[in-house]
Amino acid sequence: MAFGVLVVDDNQSFSNAARLLLERQGACVVGVACTSAEAVRRVTELRPDVVLVDLALGDECGLDLARLIAGKGCGAPAVVLISAYSPADVEELLAGNPAVGFVPKSELSADAIRRAVRRSGRATDADALSAKGH
């Protein structure tokens, strides 16, 4: 089973860099989205395992998109929030959000995603990831 990742970010150059890195590290980037609406469509179409959501999606709020995706019930992908801000700057915003974890963009890697998912206790996804991972 592919470790499928959907990257949701309004910054094209970041999305490209992220895709390059993650693929080289063994994850499979199944798609890229720039807006909430597009992201929701892609989730339905592509059924990724993990969705990376930027906190600041242009004018939209990544936190809201995270709730939207997670609210789709079981079978919904794990949402990992990413941001150019460090965790220290945004820690309080994450409280109560259904996203499984937060990874700063500068530390993005397939391992980091795996760790975030594993820490959240979503066992099946973690197994799937480790099955495919390094």
């Binding site: 910054n11 150059s13 970041f14 490209n16 860099a17 992220a18 390059l20 890195l21 080289r24 590290q25 906190l55 600041a56 709020c61 150019a84 801000y85 460090s86 220290a88 700057d89 945004v90 820690e91 309080e92 915003l93 409280a95 963009k105 500068s106 530390e107 993005l108 890697s109």
Partner: protein, 658 residues
């Protein structure tokens, strides 16, 4: 009262009837008695004695009974001397020739003395009456009592059956005192419409006039006829060159008032004029003092910067009480041709007009008139007013009103309108008095406007600064930081593609990525100092929690149900807490800082207190002054208390009104 005054007090009918009857009786009986007594007496006594005794009788009668009995006695004596005390009736020893000279002397003396006594008596009575009234004037007795006393004295002095006094009010005469011979003073009421011919004469000529009793009309004449009055003498009361009123005396018999009647009435009128002038001066001074006191109370409120609602209500109340009207309202003119009630006060405090009521201008009412003319105006009777609000006021029983505009910095802002339940109730200086209040209001409004403009300007400056910082932070984030992130990822991607054998390349690329990351951290640190993202994204509560978490001094946070607030308030509160925490960490050696925030009464209340060494002085560092500026720019209040050795405490209140 001396006997002379008592007896000499008037003309014809002033003496007590019993005395008059006795005098006439004596006028006839006296000479008869003297003649009979003289008959058997010796001749030597006759000439001088008889005439002397008769003269004494005549003088006594002049004092007691007036000219009538005295002259009657005089004539009877002459006749008795001439016809009876002569032969052959009397004894032959009286046969001496009639001493014409002695008789003539007796007649002349009798006449002269009689007339002099009469005049003297009248003069004494007149002077006494005037003196009594003058004493009342000097003692400043109340006007009603003074007028009643003067009316009575005048009536008695001129021998009238009725005396009255009236004051001109508009085109009517208001009766202020009345006296009837049989009843004494009686309480007055009512207005007269004057006898046209009479009063016109009085008003035009300003002098006394007798009046014919025919062709008289007007309620004055009706009342007069009801009392049976047939003739009236009138004198005007002139105050300050203008006819103030009239004093009149009337008689129930057909009596032509002697010329001196008008002169005497005029003498009373002069005294009363003096009293009226005094009274009006006193009343004028009292009114002035009252007005000044009212204005001073309002001015104190203005100087203390009282809130507008309190000031406006106070103005309407003071104006009402000063003008003696039942209701005063203050309105503000809006830019859309309507007026809004900003304050209203009714005697007895019963609410009537609702603050905030807004009506379009138009129609015949003071709000519209003042809006058009920008000047004080009055409506002396609400007969033909139009306009929704004024119709309601008229239906509630109000009948006249006066108003003045409130001009703030040369522009019409609003108006103050005082309304009374009587028509023509408002004195001519009412507009000026309302005007003095509106001047104060204009000052207050101007002050408030200036202050508001200043505050808004400060707030704009602060907001512009904050916006600029936010923009810089945003640009840093979206631009340089994102690019650095992408570069870091690219370096790591390259690192991931290095073959396992090339550990040196792996290390080099890793070093590049780390270096880029560290630059990113520095930029983040810089950005954090410029503007905290979490404040814009999450609001004050997460931002304060982040501050507390990052603070090197432990922080106890107490956030009482604070949710999202207007952005300038959140920003100001954040910087206040941030600065205080920074100071606590850097200078105070505190072990704990308490931070509290809660919303109450349309304001955010902040409290920051540490247990460090205190001694923080806004004058010494720019940080605390900056906090003061920030808070005050929003119209808030801030107080910092930092005694040396006793920690630092800050309390601030930031208004939340939009």
């Amino acid at each position: 009262m001396s006997v002379l005054e008592a007896l000499g007090s008037g003309w014809i009918r002033q003496r007590p009837p019993a005395l008059r009857v006795a005098a006439w009786f004596l006028a006839v009986a006296g000479p008869a008695a003297l003649t009979v007594a003289a008959l058997p007496l010796h001749a030597l006594l006759l000439q001088g004695g008889f005439l002397f005794a008769s003269l004494v009788l005549v003088i006594a009668l002049a004092v007691a009974g007036g000219i009538g009995p005295a002259l009657t006695a005089l004539v009877l004596t002459v006749m008795a001397r001439g016809f009876l005390l002569m032969p052959p009736i009397s004894s032959p020893s009286y046969g001496e020739p009639l001493n014409i000279v002695a008789l003539a002397g007796f007649v002349v003396a009798g006449l002269v003395i009689t007339v002099l006594i009469d005049r003297l008596a009248q003069l004494a009575a007149e002077q006494a009456a005037l003196r009594r009234v003058a004493t009342l004037v000097a003692h400043a007795v109340p006007a009603t009592e003074l007028f009643a006393a003067a009316t009575e004295e005048a009536g008695r002095l001129v021998g009238a059956d009725y005396a009255g006094m009236g004051r001109y009010a508009g085109s009517d005469i208001l009766c202020v005192a009345a006296w009837l011979r049989p009843r004494g003073r009686f309480p007055v009421r009512g207005r007269w419409t004057p006898v046209r011919s009479l009063m016109r004469t009085v008003v035009r000529a300003g002098r006394a006039a007798p009046t014919p009793d025919r062709a008289a009309c007007g309620t004055l004449a009706d009342d007069a006829r009801a009392l049976g009055i047939r003739a009236v003498a009138v004198a005007p009361v002139m105050v300050g060159g203008l006819t103030w009123g009239v004093i009149l005396a009337g008689s129930t018999v057909k009596w032509t008032p002697p010329p001196c009647t008008e002169r005497r009435l005029a003498a009373f009128a002069d005294l009363l004029a003096a009293a009226i002038v005094n009274e009006e001066s006193r009343a004028g001074i009292a009114r002035l003092a009252e007005e000044q006191a009212a204005l001073r109370r309002v001015a104190t409120l203005v100087a203390r910067g009282a809130r507008p609602e309190a000031l406006f209500t106070a103005v309407t109340k003071e104006a009402s009480q000063l003008l003696g009207v039942e209701i005063t309202t203050m309105i503000r003119y809006e830019s859309d041709g309507t007026s809004t009630i900003v304050a209203s006060w009714r005697e007895g405090g019963k609410p009537f007009l609702v603050v905030g009521d807004r009506q379009p201008l138009g129609g015949n009412n003071l709000a519209t008139i003042i809006a058009e003319t920008h000047s004080p105006a009055r409506l002396d009777h609400y007969g033909d007013v139009s306009g929704a609000r004024v119709i309601r006021i008229a239906n509630a029983g109000f009948r006249s009103a006066v108003g003045a505009p409130i001009m703030v910095q040369g522009r019409l802002w609003g108006a103050v309108i005082a309304a009374s339940a009587d028509d023509h109730a408002l004195s001519p200086d009412s507009e000026a008095r309302v005007g003095s209040f509106t001047d104060l209001v204009a000052t207050a409004v101007s002050n408030a406007q200036t202050l508001a403009e200043l505050t808004a300007s400060r707030a704009r400056v602060v907001a512009a600064g904050d916006e600029a910082r936010r923009q810089i932070e945003r640009d840093l984030h979206d631009g340089a930081q994102q690019r650095l992130v992408s570069l870091t990822l690219a370096a790591r991607a390259a690192q991931a593609a290095v073959p396992p054998a090339r550990k040196d390349l792996d290390r080099e690329l890793g070093g590049v990525a780390d270096g880029l990351n560290s630059v990113l951290d520095d930029l983040r640190e810089l950005a954090r100092g410029i503007h905290p993202t979490i404040l814009s994204e999450g609001g004050l509560v997460p931002a304060l929690k982040a501050l507390a978490r990052r603070s090197s001094v432990p922080v106890e946070l107490e956030l009482g149900g604070v949710s999202r607030l207007p952005e300038p308030v959140e920003v100001a509160a954040y910087y206040v807490v941030s600065e205080m925490l920074t100071n606590a960490a850097k200078h105070s050696n505190a072990s704990v800082v308490e931070v509290g925030a809660h919303v109450s009464g349309h304001a955010l209340h902040l409290r920051v207190a540490d247990d460090g060494q205190g001694g923080a002085d806004p004058a010494l560092g720019s940080g605390l002054v900056g906090l003061k500026d920030r808070v005050e720019a929003l119209g808030g209040k801030i107080a910092i208390d930092s005694p040396p050795g006793a920690g630092t405490r800050l309390v601030a209140a930031l208004p939340l009104a939009a």
